[in-house]
Structure formats: structure tokens, C-alpha cells
């Protein structure tokens, strides 16, 4: 399959904007002999909820790392919101929110200290900052844990804090690396609603996850990456209206069946099990 793909939005005004929110061209990242991301080209329009899928080790986190400044690519270019992005693009970084792999929390801060730190780093004024920190802690059910160190939090609570830190400054693009894993069902439902509202306002979400059902119901567009290359890219919202997804001349009624077809993962039963 061609590794150069474009996804045009079909949402509101912002989604129809000519300037894509994310534009990646010939992105390559090597770690020694391993090419984690191989000549990847991708465009995501504004106002879209974009799911980035792939098996373990396919290059999802490396790609998101390159798109957020965590990793410097060996080749290729990245444009966010129409501007060239590198790890030194400070002004652009102010306009994006990131929930990185491993959450990147400072474990020995309290939740409110961590959120305050993030808000200040993004230049929020003190009044707005305090208001948002208190509101976020309350709605995420962390108000009573305000003075508890993050190291003492459960995995789900840590994820909520990392999510709160990613959105505290109202970014224009939100990068989320596996946002739903380990969060309780009520928390997942809330995050989904927030993300829908987020993109309805013309902003963009780029997320990786392994929960295909969630992607199928939540995302507008999906890219499936395999061995550092895009294996499929398309609109999955049509599944809701009964249409199927096409790939290599075949039709697929679920994202899972398409994923398994593309990734080529076959499993065998273990006789002794």
C-alpha cells in the first residue's frame, strides 16, 4: 500500500480548513539498525478525532514522540497547525497538549502541584490556573487526593492527572498515547465525551490505543501502522451507518477484522492448553 496518504476532514468550518492540523512527510526514525518509523507520510485535518493503531512495536509511540518533540526524527518534516515543528518549536508546543507514553509524571509532587506546574509552563495566568486546577481535580474525582503524592495514586488516577495536565491550557491539538487503558468505565465515558466536545470546537485529537471498539465508536479517521509504515488509512465513522471498510479489494464490517487482516497476525491454538 502506498505510504503517502491524506485524510481530509468532513466536520465543521475548521475541519474543512485547507491547512491540516498535522502534516507529516517522509518521517523516518531509526534506533541503531532498527527503523521504527519508515518514510511515513500523513495528514490530519483540523476538527478530527484521529486514531493511530498498530501492533506492539509498530512505531506508534515513536511517531507520537516525533510529533511532540520527545524524539528527534532522522529524516522527514513535521508541520503542526501549518508551521514547521521541531523539538525546539517552543511557541508551537504551547498550542499542543501531550499525554506521553509512560505518562511522564513527577511522582513526588501532589496532584495540584503537578497541574499548577504544567499550567504555569504553558503560561496560564494565576487566576485561570487556580480555577482550572480546582475544577479539573473536582471533575476527575481527585479533589480529596489534592494533597496526596502522585506515587500513591492508582494507575487510573495517574492517567486522569496526566490527561488533565494535557488539556489544562486548552490546546489546539491533543496528542494522547493510550489514554483509556486502566481508567474505570465511568472515567472512560467522561473522557470520550470531553474528546467529542473538544473536536466539535474545531480542535484535533491524535491518539494511540489498543481498544479497537473505542476507536470504532469514537474516532473519525484511523491509520493502521505496521513495521513503521502506514498499512491503511481511512474514515471509520461510516461503520456506524452500516457501511464497510475496504482494503485490498476486500470488505470488513468491523475495525478489528480489518486490523487483523492488515497486521497479518495469525494465532494458533495451543494443544496443551
Amino acid at each position: 500500500m502506498d505510504n503517502e496518504m491524506e485524510m481530509t476532514g468532513s466536520g465543521g468550518d475548521a475541519a474543512e480548513s485547507l491547512i491540516p492540523a498535522i502534516s507529516v512527510e517522509h518521517l523516518t526514525k531509526r534506533f541503531g539498525d532498527l527503523t521504527a518509523v519508515d518514510d511515513l507520510t500523513l495528514k490530519v485535518s483540523s476538527g478530527r478525532l484521529f486514531g493511530f493503531l498498530g501492533p506492539n512495536g509498530a512505531g506508534k509511540s515513536t511517531t507520537i514522540g516525533c510529533l511532540t518533540g520527545l524524539i528527534d526524527p532522522n529524516a522527514g518534516s513535521i508541520r503542526l497547525l501549518g508551521e514547521t515543528f521541531t523539538s525546539d518549536s517552543i511557541e508551537l508546543k504551547r498550542r499542543i497538549g501531550v499525554m506521553p507514553e509512560g505518562l511522564a509524571l513527577f511522582d513526588h509532587l501532589f496532584a495540584h502541584e503537578f497541574l499548577t506546574f504544567n499550567g504555569r509552563m504553558y503560561g496560564l495566568d494565576e487566576q485561570t490556573l487556580r480555577q482550572r486546577v480546582e475544577e479539573l481535580l473536582t471533575v476527575l474525582g481527585l479533589a480529596n487526593a489534592g494533597n496526596k503524592r502522585l506515587s500513591e495514586f492508582s494507575t487510573g488516577m495517574r492517567k486522569k492527572v496526566a490527561f488533565a495536565a494535557a488539556i489544562i491550557h486548552r490546546p489546539e491539538i491533543l496528542f494522547l498515547d493510550e489514554p483509556f487503558e486502566s481508567i474505570d468505565p465511568a472515567g472512560v465515558a467522561m473522557l470520550k465525551d470531553w474528546l467529542r466536545r473538544f473536536v466539535a470546537g474545531g480542535r484535533t485529537v491524535f491518539m494511540t490505543t489498543h481498544v479497537l471498539e473505542t476507536v470504532e465508536r469514537l474516532c473519525d479517521d484511523v491509520a493502521i501502522i505496521k513495521a513503521g509504515k502506514i498499512a491503511w488509512l481511512g474514515d471509520v465513522s461510516k461503520l456506524a451507518s452500516g457501511e464497510s471498510l475496504e482494503s485490498d479489494g476486500s470488505s470488513f464490517n468491523t475495525l478489528e477484522s480489518l486490523f487483523l487482516h492488515l497486521v497479518g497476525e495469525r494465532y494458533e491454538m495451543l494443544e496443551w492448553l
Binding site: 509512560g102 511522564a104 509532587l109 501532589f110 494533597n147
Partner: protein, 526 residues
């Protein structure tokens, strides 16, 4: 038994895996060199030499008791410093995944702990001592060998019990503070208290210490090794067995106790506290980062301990340096303050990202230059080290105000200390990116500095001592005072070096960013 041997093999496989890294190879070289060299020294000098001296003096049992007590203290001290036993792969929690009952898990954990290289050194000393007594003193092999085995076992169990109790205390904030205060009191006032005893009281104190040693494992082992009759040997053996059994039971009881983590304290959010206000002096760009570093560093046990204990070294000034006297007071003060400037808060200064864990990734995605985070941490360390220095300096002025403390002397000490502090802060920037190490935030005793950082700290202690001895030999104190302006030049150089480091640290950091993130966030182990 197969699980047992598989786990022992795994322990050494993990060690070998660590050795395969670049820093691991260097550590292996030094480790083997030290192990072989020190093993021989422990055997020959510590053990054999002690035994020979004991036989010649005709006070075999007493010398053996003291020698073994020294080895026991070394075991405890080294275990406190370097940690006891292998990594987290062999904790009780990790071993629970294997088909082992609680008794088997206990035996495996402690058998692996006993195979720790540090303990081989102590075993060498004990073997050397026993061998010396058998060779030179004609003592019984039949008593000597079981004595050494029982002593090693009792010593290990005593140490591991002590460390477990400390570990339990460290789990609570109050316990950690209590323990820190106790250590500081022992370190700072212990030597002062001993030195202020009258000769008679001191003799009586040593008698009490000797009496205590007799009922402790060193005394029991000594009476077994040098015992002339069966009753004495049996008594010593009985006492050692009693120690082993009681420590074993105590350890089992402590380990069986469920560990409860301290609940978080509920309370109102304080928005603009002292950390934020202090960090405010660096402007809005650095304020959040410096503020974060300040509170983060002050919550880290090893850093807190280092900062609190360093000013108290001043109280021990005269006991630290042999040959201390009125004449050499100034040169020794300069040396001690310079050493303080390298050791004070070294865990933070030389490993600026070391305690951030996975948080280091966040610096890369925030709207800042990655180097800004390093610079902010360095500035925070300078503030904290500066406060600790000011306390030390005030103590020095108060304590030694009667020792012909001229304004030139005060100025020299002040200038050299500030210069040293700034110079080491500059070095800290480079060491933090070229020799980082993932630190254990909760640990208080383990020396978690990298080889490079250790070289800086040890160099920071050895060089001033060497300079001080040279100065004491060649320059009169009056002449030294007249050179009060010279340290100012050194200060200018150090400020220049720190400024240069702050300005150009971006360049190497840029190429090492990903490696640093992977190493410190745990994506790869050092």
C-alpha cells in the same frame, strides 16, 4: 531445588546484563580489581595480620574480638552504603510469582543476599583471621571453621534485620526524619562526646563496650576460635546459634508484618508558597521549573540528609583531620569548606535529572528548551546548597570566633567556599548529562551516584587535602592571611566556568537527550 538454582543463575545473569553497558564495563573492571585486590588485602592484612599480632601479644581472644567487631561494623556500614542484596527482581513481591512457599522465598532471598560481592570481602577477612589463628596460634580447625560459618551467618542476619527495621522506619515520613536526626546526632556529637570524657570515664566506657562485644557475635566467635577448652568453644557456639536463631525469628516476624503506606494528608491547597516565592527571583521563564526542583529535591531523603548533615561536619572539624592545631586552623578550614562544597547535596548537584524518573520525558514535550530544565535544576541546587553552606559558615564563625579569626580569614573561607560551590555546580551540569544515574527517591543510605559523579566527589575531597598539606608545609599562617585577595581570582574563574557551562550545555545535551530520557525514565537500565 530447580527453581532455587534458576533464580541464583538469574541473579548473576542480571548482573552480567548490567555489565554489558558501557558504564557497566568500567564498573566491572574496577569491581574486579577492587574485589581481587581488597580480597587479598583483607585476607593478608586484616585477617592474617590481626591473628599474628594477637598471637604475638598473647591477647588472642581480645584482639580477635575487636577484629571481628570491626568486620561486623564494616558489613553493616557497607550494606547501608551500597544496599544489601540484589535488585528488585528478588524482592518478596517478585518471588511470589514463582511456585515457592514463604519459607523457600525467604531462604532464596537471603541466600542470594549473602552471595553479594560486598560480603565476599568480609568473608575473606574472617577466613584470613581464622586461618591466621590456626597457622600461627595453633588453634583448632574443628572450632575455627564452624565459628567462621556461624559468625558470617549471624553477622548477615543481624545486618539484614537492622536494614529491614530501617526500611520500615523509612516508609513513614516521621520515621525517616527521626532516623535522620539520630544519624546526625551520632555523627556530629558522638566524637565530641567521646573526646570530652575524662581518661577514667573513657576506660570505663571501653570496658562496657568490651563487655557488650562478648555477648555479641564477634565475642562469641572469638571465644570459639581461640577457646582452649571445650566448654568455652561450646559456649561461644551456643551464643552464636542463639544469635542466628533469634535474628532469624525476628526477621521472619518483621517481614510477615503487612506493610502499610502512609495515607495522604488532606488539606487546603497552598498556591503561592515559599518554593514559588524563592523561585520567583529567576523570572517567569524559570520560576515553575525552579520551584518544582526545590520542592522535589527537598522531598528526596538522600538529598535532605546530605543537606542537613553537611553543615554539621563543621562541628567535627577538629576530629576529621589528624594533626589539627591552632597554626593550621585556617588552611584546614579552607580545605573542609571546599570539601563541603563538593559533597554538600552532591546527589542532587551531580545528578540533576536522576530523581525525576519518567518525569524527565515531560521536559521534552513542554514549551521550553530541554536544557532549560537542566539549568533550572542546577539553579535550585545552588539555592539549597547555598542555604546549607550559610548555616555551616555561621556555625564556623560562632564556634571558632576565639581562634584568632581575622577578617582576612573569614573572607578567604567565604570566597573559597562560594567559588567551590559554583565550580561544582558547573561540573554538575556536565556530569548530569555524561554520567547520569537513575536514583531511588526513597533511599536514604545507598550511594546512588554514578562512577563519574563519584570521581568528582572523591576528587573534591582528595585535591583540597593535598593542597592543604602542601600549604601547611610551605606557607606560614600569617602569609596565608595576607593572600586574602587570591581566592577572589579563583571565584572569578569559577563563576566564568559556571556561566560557560550554562551557556553551552545545550550542545552536548541536544545529542544526548534521547539517551538520557531512556536511561533515567527506565526505558533502559544503567
Amino acid at each position: 531445588m530447580r527453581v532455587f538454582s534458576a533464580l541464583v543463575r538469574l541473579r548473576y545473569k542480571l548482573m552480567w546484563a548490567q555489565v554489558r553497558t558501557d558504564s557497566g564495563k568500567i564498573a566491572l573492571f574496577f569491581g574486579l580489581y577492587l574485589l581481587i585486590g581488597v580480597f587479598a588485602i583483607f585476607m593478608a592484612l586484616g585477617g592474617l595480620g590481626g591473628a599474628l599480632a594477637a598471637v604475638e601479644l598473647g591477647r588472642g581472644e581480645m584482639v580477635a574480638r575487636l577484629m571481628l567487631a570491626g568486620l561486623m561494623m564494616n558489613g553493616i556500614g557497607l550494606s547501608l552504603l551500597f544496599g544489601l542484596g540484589p535488585s528488585e527482581a528478588f524482592t518478596e513481591g517478585s518471588l511470589r510469582r514463582y511456585p515457592l512457599d514463604s519459607q523457600e522465598r525467604f531462604v532464596i532471598r537471603h541466600f542470594i543476599g549473602l552471595l553479594d560481592p560486598v560480603w565476599l570481602l568480609l568473608i575473606a577477612g574472617i577466613i584470613g583471621l581464622v586461618f591466621g589463628f590456626i597457622w600461627f596460634g595453633g588453634e583448632s580447625v574443628l572450632a575455627g571453621i564452624p565459628a567462621s560459618v556461624l559468625f558470617i551467618l549471624a553477622n548477615y542476619l543481624l545486618t539484614v534485620t537492622l536494614l529491614t527495621v530501617i526500611g520500615l522506619l523509612m516508609q513513614t515520613r516521621r520515621g525517616a526524619t527521626l532516623l535522620g536526626a539520630l544519624m546526625i546526632l551520632l555523627l556530629s556529637f558522638g566524637p565530641l562526646a567521646i573526646s570530652s570524657l575524662t581518661p577514667g570515664t573513657r576506660d570505663r566506657m571501653w570496658q562496657v563496650v568490651d563487655l557488650c562485644l562478648r555477648i555479641l557475635p564477634p565475642g562469641a566467635a572469638a571465644s570459639m576460635i581461640t577457646g582452649q577448652d571445650l566448654l568455652k568453644v561450646a559456649g561461644g557456639a551456643g551464643l552464636l546459634i542463639l544469635w542466628c536463631v533469634s535474628m532469624f525469628m525476628l526477621l521472619r516476624t518483621i517481614e510477615k508484618k503487612p506493610r502499610v503506606s502512609e495515607p495522604g494528608r488532606a488539606g487546603a491547597i497552598v498556591w503561592d508558597n515559599l518554593y514559588d516565592q524563592t523561585a520567583g527571583i529567576f523570572g517567569s521563564r524559570y520560576r515553575p521549573m525552579v520551584s518544582r526542583s526545590l520542592r522535589y529535591h527537598l522531598r528526596c531523603n538522600i538529598i535532605r540528609f546530605s543537606l542537613i548533615s553537611s553543615p554539621l561536619v563543621i562541628l567535627m572539624l577538629r576530629y576529621l583531620i589528624p594533626g589539627y592545631g591552632e597554626k593550621s586552623h585556617l588552611s584546614m578550614s579552607i580545605a573542609i569548606f571546599f570539601i563541603l562544597s563538593s559533597a554538600n547535596g552532591a546527589a542532587m548537584m551531580l545528578n540533576l535529572f536522576g530523581y525525576d524518573g519518567a518525569g524527565i520525558r515531560r521536559f521534552a514535550v513542554l514549551p521550553i528548551r530541554f536544557a532549560d530544565a537542566l539549568k533550572a535544576a542546577s539553579l535550585a541546587s545552588l539555592i539549597l546548597r547555598g542555604i546549607a553552606f550559610l548555616v555551616a559558615f555561621t556555625l564556623w564563625v560562632i564556634i571558632y570566633r576565639n581562634r584568632s579569626l581575622t577578617w582576612q580569614a573569614v573572607l578567604i573561607v567565604l570566597t573559597v567556599s562560594v567559588a567551590g560551590m559554583i565550580m561544582f555546580n558547573g561540573l554538575g551540569l556536565w556530569v548530569s548529562i555524561f554520567a547520569p544515574k537513575r536514583g531511588d527517591f526513597e533511599a536514604m543510605w545507598n550511594n546512588r551516584l554514578s562512577l563519574g559523579a563519584n570521581i568528582v566527589v572523591i576528587g573534591g575531597a582528595i585535591i583540597p587535602f593535598w593542597v592543604m598539606i602542601t600549604v601547611m608545609e610551605r606557607i606560614q599562617p600569617e602569609t596565608l592571611s595576607r593572600l586574602w585577595w587570591a581566592p577572589a581570582l579563583f571565584l572569578v574563574l569559577c563563576v566564568g566556568f559556571y556561566g560557560f557551562s550554562l551557556k553551552f550545555i545545550d550542545i552536548p545535551l541536544r545529542s544526548r537527550k534521547e539517551k538520557l530520557i531512556n536511561l533515567l525514565s527506565g526505558a533502559s537500565d544503567n
